[in-house]
């Protein structure tokens, strides 16, 4: 049981390039989330998904797209990277969100630098 994994761990992009970050969970969780964390700050929610085939915008969705084609995977895409997107990206999942605030399980993060 690997929990939540993220690929890649590190990436350097040039402005205007595109890339996709992959998040995978093996806990059969329904809900998945993408956050970004800038130095010295807390996490901000980019997009989330309440189930396979569904996605929704979070607090800071501009410049990002997501897809949840399979229940266990949640992809975060940057179509045209900008230096302002330099950050650490965390993926998380929860079993469901039916009662209370279910525990979020986080991945190890992807450190992205846009030059």
């Amino acid at each position: 049981n690997a929990g939540v994994t993220q690929t890649p761990k590190f990436r350097v992009l040039k402005t205007g390039q595109s890339m996709t970050l992959l998040c995978a969970q093996d806990m059969n969780h329904e809900y998945m989330y993408w956050y970004r964390q800038d130095p010295g700050m807390g996490l901000r929610l980019i997009h989330y998904s309440v189930g396979e085939g569904t996605t929704a915008k979070g607090e800071v969705p501009d410049g990002y797209n997501v897809s949840r084609l399979k229940k266990q995977n949640f992809l975060l895409g940057l179509e045209s990277a900008a230096p302002s997107q330099t950050s650490v990206y965390f993926c998380a999942s929860t079993l469901n969100a039916g009662r209370g605030a279910d525990t979020q399980y986080f991945g190890p993060g992807t450190r992205l630098t846009v030059l």
């Binding site: 956050y35 807390g42 996490l43 969100a97 039916g98 986080f106 991945g107």
Partner: protein, 114 residues
């Protein structure tokens, strides 16, 4: 939306008890209070969650007064490995609970000294 306020940083020494208080004056009836811990270069990790009164697990205790407008995370006998950022979250979860507005905030940076 229940906004939380917690100290930016705290210092302690090994073996001491540490109490971190979080204010959430606008907490809603169906909101839970959850604390996460984050080490450098790692994702946050769940510590404890509660709704009211006191909750204790093998890692920490969570004290919630009757009005639920604040909560206190208590770490007994801290060690150097407890040096981390601690986040207080308030929310009910789910689309109706406002997942698009779940905010971690800057958290409390706890430094434990020898």
């Amino acid at each position: 939306l229940a906004k939380t306020t917690q100290p930016i940083s705290m210092d302690s020494y090994e073996g001491q008890e540490v109490n971190i208080t979080c204010s959430h004056n606008n907490i809603a009836t169906n909101d839970y209070i959850t604390w996460y811990q984050q080490f450098p270069s790692q994702g946050p990790r769940f510590i404890i969650q509660g709704y009211k009164t006191k909750v204790t697990n093998e890692v920490a205790s969570l004290f919630i007064p009757a009005d639920r407008k604040s909560s206190t995370l208590s770490l007994p006998r801290v060690s150097l490995s407890d040096t981390a950022v601690y986040y207080c979250l308030v929310g009910a979860g789910g689309v109706s609970g406002g997942y698009n507005k779940l905010i971690f905030g800057a958290g409390t940076r706890l430094a434990v000294h020898p």
